[in-house]
């Protein structure tokens, strides 16, 4: 039953995808009015004006571009022409560093908030005010103080991934079942051993949920951040190709951003599965 459901879902997915491609292809195939013009002038004009080609690239154009990128993802022909693999690597590296720093900060502080009602109350107003701030609003401040665009982007990733992890850790830690804590108490388990052997495993599924939300937000924000700071990264690539009016490249990049985001999410979903325990 479940396997047949999987198959049927796959068939429907493929059908939707094929009809989308078909619709896209038909919509962008169009031959618009062709203006007669001087040969010299025609060289300056795009294919839209000279051959009546649609301004929007079709699926075949995008597929060709994608294939071209896949063939040489890591070429480097100067600051404005790098392979899409290099750009993605820059973005992933920034997300990884910012995210790792956020884990280092959010989980210990989340533990503190979850275990101490005093700290929970004391830190609550700060969290409530800081959490809703758009991470990009920090960008000018980061650029002014850090004076390095790459590090500023990492800072922005850090600040946007901290909150979901912090709040989920605090919630997970404070919601550890009293009976498990009582087991530790009757066994005279010390506070450090209790934190690692009872609270951490009990709160791990909740913490991982927070980490999964954070990685999603971090990947959303890096594109916007790189559009602002420029230089390298997939966000910069998108903006640069927009300036080049290469819509084909923009669509290709959008597709790649989606795929990488999915992989990052699935990685954390795997880890979450490892620490989840059935009750």
């Amino acid at each position: 039953m479940t396997s047949s459901l999987t198959w049927r879902a796959a068939i429907v997915s493929i059908a939707i995808f094929v009809s989308f491609l078909l619709a896209w292809h038909l919509a962008t195939r169009g031959t618009g009015p062709v203006t007669q013009m001087d040969a010299e002038y025609a060289k300056l004009m795009g294919a839209t004006a000279t051959q009546g080609k649609s301004a929007m690239p079709g699926p075949l154009d995008v597929a060709a571009k994608l294939w071209q990128h896949i063939q040489s993802p890591f070429y480097d022909k100067g600051p404005n022409d790098k392979g899409v693999g290099i750009q993605l690597a820059y973005s992933i590296a920034r997300v990884a560093i910012g995210y790792f720093l956020a884990v280092m900060v959010a989980i210990p502080i989340g533990f503190l908030i979850g275990m101490s009602p005093l700290m929970s109350r004391a830190l609550d107003p700060f969290i409530q005010v800081l959490k809703p701030i758009s991470p990009l609003a920090w960008m000018p401040l980061a650029l002014y103080t850090i004076k390095d665009s790459g590090l500023s982007a990492i800072f922005v990733i850090f600040i946007c991934s901290v909150w979901p992890m912090l709040l989920n850790t605090a919630f997970g830690v404070s919601a550890v079942r009293k009976e498990w804590l009582n087991v530790a108490r009757t066994l005279e388990v010390g506070p450090i051993r209790r934190a690692f052997t009872i609270i951490l495993p009990a709160a791990a599924p909740t913490i991982l949920t927070g980490m999964r939300i954070s990685i999603g937000i971090a990947w959303l924000v890096i594109v916007a951040a790189e559009m602002l700071v420029g230089g390298t990264g997939i966000g910069y690539f998108v903006w640069n190709e927009w300036n080049n009016l290469s819509i084909t490249n923009v669509i290709t990049a959008i597709l790649l951003i989606g795929l990488v985001g999915m992989v990052l999410d699935q990685l954390l979903a795997r880890v979450a599965k490892l620490v989840t325990f059935p009750e």
Partner: protein, 302 residues
């Protein structure tokens, strides 16, 4: 010293009442237990049985009074007092072996992992879970989970076992076989046990003394029933013993009427010396009506 291994001395537990002032769950509670004794507490829900057990475990604090175990006042939880929780409280991310080994390694921190495993295995075998060491709690039935709880409590060789309605969530058959196991293990090891239960038959089968507690708030220990049944009683025929119905009726009468009406202010009642009764000796089972049995047995014990 050997007379009172555990001594509950005038403990009280009060909570702030909603409209100011305090509500006392119980006041001035006194109880002594000998080493190796099996004591059951029976009373209605909300009378403070669990609070007494939590105080003995060190998980809860008294508002007044003290509990002395083996000559020392209780200051928080201790590895000398193992608790078997009603909800079994196993760690779901650990296996059966992991749960028991966690307790063993908490008691003997310097032991090698081999020694810890061996000790844990010994108690897993004792409760009859050999072969299920690597299962997780979610893969076990309710009775098996409680067996793990018992193995975990016994593995640290405590001086006292505290059980809070350990079998109440189990079906009758499983409960029966676990009662047999607990009785066998406690007799073999000479364990001192303090157990809370709602089940009168369970109390009669397992306990040496049955403490009857009145309804809260302001609950008191109404009396201590000494179990007149022979120590070598068997599950198969203990209910056919001539004294069985006397004890049973006495306790049920208490639960139905006297647990409500009994007052700690009654004449001749001294909370420091809770009356000890040994029902069932003088009267035939049929004649054991409420007031008759109580007064007759009180007279017999006086």
């Amino acid at each position: 010293m050997t007379d009172k291994f555990i001594s509950i001395e005038g403990i009280a537990k009060r909570y702030p009442a909603p409209g100011g002032g305090t509500t006392a769950i119980f006041e001035n509670l006194w109880l002594g237990m000998k080493r190796g004794e099996f004591v059951c507490v029976i009373g209605h829900s909300g009378c403070g049985k669990t609070t007494v057990l939590n105080i003995l475990a060190g998980l809860d604090e008294t508002s007044e009074g003290a509990v002395i175990v083996d000559g020392q006042s209780i200051e928080g939880p201790s590895l000398d007092r193992a608790v078997i929780f009603q909800s079994h409280a196993l760690l779901p991310w650990r296996t059966v072996m992991g749960n028991v080994a966690y307790a063993v390694s908490s008691k003997w921190r310097r032991w090698s992992s081999q020694k810890i495993q061996a000790q844990a295995q010994k108690y897993i075998d004792l409760v009859g879970l050999t072969g299920s060491e690597h299962k997780r709690p979610s893969e076990l039935s309710g009775g098996m989970k409680q067996r793990v709880g018992i193995a975990r409590a016994l593995s640290i060789t405590p001086k006292i076992m505290l059980m809070d309605e350990p079998f109440s969530a189990l079906d009758a058959l499983t409960r029966g076989s676990l009662q047999d196991e607990v009785r066998r293990i406690c007799l073999e090891t000479g364990q001192t046990v303090f157990m809370i239960t709602h089940d009168v038959d369970e109390a009669i089968y397992l306990a040496d003394k049955i403490v009857l507690m009145t309804n809260g708030p302001n609950a008191v220990l109404a009396e201590i029933v000494e179990n007149p049944l022979p120590k070598d009683r068997k599950r198969t025929d203990f209910h056919k013993h001539p004294l069985y119905y006397g004890v049973r009726n006495h306790i049920i009468d208490f639960l139905i009427t006297r647990s409500r009406n009994f007052s700690g202010n009654a004449e001749g009642y001294d909370p420091r010396h809770v009356p000890v009764v040994k029902p069932g000796f003088s009267e035939p089972a049929i004649a054991a009506t409420g007031k008759g049995s109580a007064s007759a047995s009180r007279a017999a014990s006086a």
